[in-house]
């Protein structure tokens, strides 16, 4: 687990404080052991329609899914569906199709390739 410098005023906090507030939309319960091998999948608010957003928000598989208001991939975001898997940008015809190539058994409910 990463540790940070701790300054007098506490600016450099350890990371656990914020984990409970992190806008992670779908993941294991905070106290459950995380699957270290499962990827972190991030999506951009601008790149999903309401149905896809709901699909990703309610996903309950092993992957950790994070919503960001901007993933700084604006050019790709403007052009086509994409997800960021750990630190890799993955493009596709739909978010469900991308998800299915990553974790076929865990494609979120209600999604269609």
């Amino acid at each position: 687990m990463m540790r940070f410098l701790v300054c007098d005023t506490g600016y450099m906090m350890n990371e656990r404080q914020d984990t409970m507030h992190h806008r992670t939309v779908a993941q294991c319960p905070a106290d459950a052991p995380a699957d270290a091998t499962a990827p972190t999948i991030s999506y951009c608010l601008s790149n999903v329609d309401d149905a896809t957003r709901h699909m990703l928000q309610t996903y309950d598989g092993a992957c950790k899914v994070i919503e960001e208001c901007c993933l700084q991939r604006c050019g790709y975001c403007y052009d086509e569906p994409f997800l960021v898997v750990d630190d890799q940008l993955v493009r596709g015809s739909s978010h469900a199709a991308i998800f299915q190539t990553l974790a076929p058994a865990e494609t979120p409910k209600g999604s269609s390739p």
Binding site: M2, R3, F4, L5, C7, D8, T9, G10, Y11, M12, M13, N14, E15, Q17, D18, T19, H21, H22, R23, T40, S42, C44, L45, S46, D50, R53, K64, I66, E67, E68, C69, C70, L71, Q72, R73, C74, G75, Y76, C77, Y78, D79, V84, D86, D87, L89
Partner: protein, 503 residues
């Protein structure tokens, strides 16, 4: 008086020892320190609308926009500072490398000046297209994996833009502040003037020349495994994940850039000395927001709670003859207040229907109180408030609507790409601060935390202890203060609903 307004982008307050520096570096900032000793140091100054362009509409139009719309242009019903000054017979000049002023979705910020200098090439500025294959080390350090890609906003643009840079003087802050100093030398035949300087540095990429790149680190700044343009997000997961060594390097490069900005700001202060301009010139130095560099586990300006790292900002004001020069001002102030301050200082009639309150009564020593609250946030997300002692961060519901109100059809979240038609838009006179009809169209609501957060920022400036549930008295008081502020601002009805607050 004449006015110089200097915004140094992303200048995190806790890197400045004038505010009780809390970072691990012994920061070299002699010129900021020298100016702070001369000017008034505002201790409780807060951002309002974030990030970059929303802050500029606060500075230059006095509109605290984030309850009504996101990043976007000046509106036809705005009264830009430069236009007001022009009508009052003031010569106006803008010096900037802030390319967002010239991008999709944010017009209207430079057109009213008599002159503007745009220093090209920062961050994603669409400037150079050659060399096709720029410095491979820099490409790795700025995390560009598709350098030949042709989509909007590619990081390779930065590598191409700086490919010809040889010396420190070629970089952005040196050019911005040298141009500023030069303008001051050449324009003293004008009796009345306004000089606005919008420096995009210290903003990322945190790429700086020597000696700054090595000033706060023993690492090789050209090590291709070390990045200087990290992704936004958590530093323990996803694309923004980084280890301690990487984080230390990023912080050192940020610190180096702060020192580089300071070095070149000094040239401007020197000209003010040499030309004996202090007696006739107001000088404002501030920033739009801070930048997470590992604090609270975050990097950049991500979808994170709006801690003071981002929103509690530096403000220094020199005002000739003021009894508070060289002193600390403890009154609560907001970024939007700089607009009315400059308007009044220039002798212009203050435009009606803005959210700005002039700081001149504070600067004249007529009062030590300015405002009871300051609100801040991003459009479509959480809404936050401070009374100067406590900060209260209110989450929002994502299943209730939030609307954009504007004469323009803008992308609610993808600000930099070409605007898309808003097919659900309806028109009406919706704004309490304008009598013009505007479009209203929906955007997505997103929260940054799931429960309210409360901090006593005098006792706990690092906001390490969330008092929610432990200090119910102040929790209720700050919640009530937020309701009162939103009512006073005549915030849209849906804001109360999505924030779970009584209207």
């Amino acid at each position: 008086v004449n006015v110089i307004f200097i915004s140094i982008d992303s200048l995190s307050r806790h890197f400045l020892d004038m505010y009780g520096q809390t970072v691990e570096f012994d920061m070299e900032i002699p010129n900021l320190r020298r100016f702070a000793q001369k000017a008034a140091t505002f201790e409780r100054h807060y951002s309002g609308s974030l990030p970059c362009m929303p802050a500029r509409r606060e500075y230059w139009a006095g509109v605290q926009e984030f309850l009504w719309r996101p990043w976007g242009p000046m509106e036809p019903f705005d009264t830009p500072l430069a236009r007001t000054a022009r009508r009052a017979g003031v010569v106006t000049q803008l010096v900037t490398d802030h390319y967002h002023l010239f991008q999709h979705g944010s017009h209207g910020y430079y057109e009213d000046y008599h002159g503007f200098e745009f220093i090209r090439g920062h961050e994603y500025d669409a400037w150079q297209t050659a060399p096709r294959d720029p410095d491979p080390v820099l490409l790795r350090q700025i995390i560009e994996n598709d350098p030949h890609g042709l989509v909007f906003m590619q990081r390779a643009a930065y590598a191409r833009n700086v490919a010809s840079f040889k010396a420190e003087e070629d970089y952005f802050a040196p050019k911005v502040f040298r141009t500023t100093a030069d303008w001051l030398r050449r324009n003293q035949e004008h009796s009345r003037w306004l000089l606005v300087v919008d420096s995009f540095d210290v903003h990322e990429p945190f790429h700086c020349p020597e000696p700054y790149a090595s000033m706060y680190t023993t690492e090789d700044p050209r090590d291709p495994t070390l990045i200087n343009w990290p992704w936004y997000g958590r530093i323990d997961s996803g694309q923004s994940k980084m280890d301690e060594r990487q984080l230390a390097f990023v912080r050192a490069q940020f610190a180096g850039k702060v020192t580089m900005v300071d070095r070149w700001l000094g040239e401007v202060l020197d000209v003010l000395d040499q030309q004996q301009l202090w007696d006739t010139t107001m000088v404002i130095v501030t920033t739009d927001h801070g930048h997470y560099l590992g604090e609270h586990g975050w990097m950049g300006k991500p979808t994170a709670p709006m801690y003071n790292v981002l929103t509690h900002t530096p403000l220094f004001v020199w005002y000739p003859g003021s009894p508070v020069m060289g002193k600390r001002v403890r009154a609560l102030t907001s970024a939007v207040d700089t607009y009315a301050t400059m308007t009044e200082a220039l002798g212009c009639a203050p435009p009606a229907h803005t959210h700005s309150r002039s700081l001149l009564p504070l600067l004249r020593g007529e009062t030590d109180h300015h405002r009871d609250w300051a609100v801040y946030g991003y459009w479509g997300s959480t809404v936050n408030i401070t009374d100067g002692e406590y900060t209260y961060l209110q989450p929002c519901r994502e299943d209730l609507p939030v609307y954009v109100y504007s004469t323009m059809m803008m992308n609610p979240h993808s600000w930099f790409t070409p605007p898309l038609p808003q097919k659900d838009a309806v028109a009406g006179t919706f704004l309490p601060y304008a009598d013009s009809p505007v479009w209203r169209y929906p955007g997505k609501s997103y929260t940054r935390h799931l429960e309210p957060m409360l901090f006593n920022v005098l006792d706990d400036p690092g906001q390490s202890r969330d008092l929610r549930g432990d200090d119910r008295t102040n929790e209720a008081r700050m919640r009530d203060l937020l309701v009162a502020a939103l009512r006073e601002l005549e915030a849209p009805e849906e804001q109360f609903a999505r924030l779970g607050l009584p209207r």
